[in-house]
Amino acid sequence: MSDSRSVAAVAAGKDDAVLQWVTFKLDHETYGINVMQVQEVLRYTEIAPVPGAPHYVLGIINLRGNVVTVIDTRSRFGLQSAELDDSTRIVIIEAEKQVIGILVDSVAEVVYLRRSEIDNAPNVGTEESAKFIQGVSNRDNELLILVDLDKLLSDEEWVELTQL
């Protein structure tokens, strides 16, 4: 009897796994990305524009000898562009087996969330950017918007990035 209870508890525990999210700010909203996909966070460094690159590509940076494409996250999210400042960061992430950088207003912290604490986002969006959001969570009376980095770009766009 007790064995079955413990098994159930373990199963429930597995279902309600704790996930870590790196949070960043963009246009006064807090977003979270899976910590497992974050490689490092850089201060803003000069980004070299690439002629003929898609509009969502800011350019490329040299990261210890490797060329990394930086995405204009504001543009991708349909937000207005903003001035760069001291808190601007480039978050290096890995998604779809590619390493890219995303430009954000600032990086906040790493938070722990149980899976059960994540809710679906209101399903009213019809725009392309609606699919970026994989869920929302209410944390300390603040809304955390969780981003699915794999869906940040479409399959064609991921391929396009490799050909830059």
Binding site: F77, V124, G125, A130, I133, L143, I145
Partner: protein, 354 residues
């Protein structure tokens, strides 16, 4: 020498005004739909009876409303159309009796059918009293064959005539209503009632909350009000329609905030108007996660159901249950509104209500 047009028209209307009153009742439009014995409910029974009596007595001239007048003005051409109209009305009114007239021996028919008619009357009286429309529908066919006979029998029994006529009128009316309803349901054009579910939950006198949005006043029944929350920080979600203002956290819940002005009147919601709108509260819709932004809360008052002009037919705005007559403002159909919002529909998007 011919008369002028003015003189002719004047004479025509003068004649119309001089028509004797009893004749008018015979040619009233209400009497036109009468076929056979199924005279219109609004047509006075006495008139129909007198008409039938007179026709059976082979004196159709007496039915002419202005027969005497026509003789007086027989030389005038404009009097003729009126007489024709009367004839047409009369023919319709007496069509069933006309058929009877074609038979060689009416008196034989009267005697032979008297018994059957009485049976029909007794059956009609019992069946039409039953509430079931189906029962009424079933009796229509046998009655139709006996209509003439029943009319003929009128001469002998006035009380049974009235009973039969009332019964026929009643059962025809019910059958017509039922067939019309069935037709509407089959077409799917008109659901039973678009606001009936809302009206059912409301008392005859119910409370509504009035609130303002950019100069527009809307009302929400208090039974459909989930609460009122002061607007705090609204988190914008990317990729959402313009009317979706974002998500506001409230205690442990998340409220989907609707930009009411943008949703209700998107055609008028310009960036300039958006600048001027100062949302203060969220009007929560029932137990849903949806909240409508509003600038100010006016008041909550009791209104009578009859003071609302309820929407009866589906339209472009299923979220609008009706109009409060006194305040001249729209009253929300919260359930329909929630359905639309859940489906991500805008104000003018059509909703498939199955």
């Amino acid at each position: 020498m011919s008369k002028s047009v003015d003189e002719t028209v004047f004479d025509y209307f003068s004649l119309l005004l001089q028509e004797p009153a009893p004749a008018k009742t015979v040619i009233q439009p209400e009497a036109k739909p009468v076929k056979g014995t199924t005279s219109s409910p609004s047509a006075p029974a006495v008139d129909s009876k007198s008409v039938v009596d007179t026709y059976v007595n082979n004196k159709p001239e007496a039915l002419m409303p202005n027969a005497s007048t026509s003789k007086v003005i027989g030389s005038r051409s404009f009097a003729e159309p009126a007489t024709q109209v009367d004839k047409l009305a009369l023919e319709k009114l007496l069509s069933a009796v006309t058929q009877a007239d074609k038979q060689t021996d009416i008196q034989l028919q009267i005697k032979a059918s008297a018994k059957r008619v009485r049976e029909a009357i007794s059956q009609t009286e019992t069946k039409t009293l039953a509430p079931s429309v189906d029962g009424v529908q079933l009796q229509k066919t046998p009655l139709a064959g006996k209509e003439i006979n029943s009319l003929v029998d009128i001469k002998t029994d006035d009380s049974t005539l009235n009973a039969l006529k009332d019964a026929i009128i009643k059962h025809d009316k019910l059958a017509e209503e039922k067939s019309a309803q069935q037709l509407q349901h089959a077409k799917g054009a008109i659901p039973p009632s678009v606001t009936q579910n809302l009206q059912d939950v409301l008392d005859d006198e119910f409370q509504v909350l009035f609130f303002n949005v950019a100069g527009l006043t809307l009302a929400v029944p208090l039974v459909s009000l989930g609460g009122i929350i002061k607007i705090d920080k609204i988190n914008h979600l990317i990729g959402r329609p313009s009317w979706f203002k974002g998500v506001q956290t409230h205690r442990d819940s998340k409220i989907n905030v609707v930009d009411t002005c943008a949703w209700v009147m998107p055609e008028k919601y310009s960036p300039e108007l958006a600048e001027t709108v100062n949302y203060q509260y969220l009007v929560m819709l029932e137990n849903s996660a949806w909240g409508l932004t509003c600038e100010s809360l006016v008041n909550a008052v009791k209104i009578d159901k009859s003071h609302v002009n309820w929407r009866e037919k589906p339209g472009k705005r299923p979220w609008l249950a009706g109009v409060v007559k006194q305040q001249m403002c729209g009253i929300l159909h919260v359930q329909a509104l929630i359905e639309m919002l859940d489906a991500g529909l805008g104000c003018q998007d059509s909703i498939d209500r199955g």
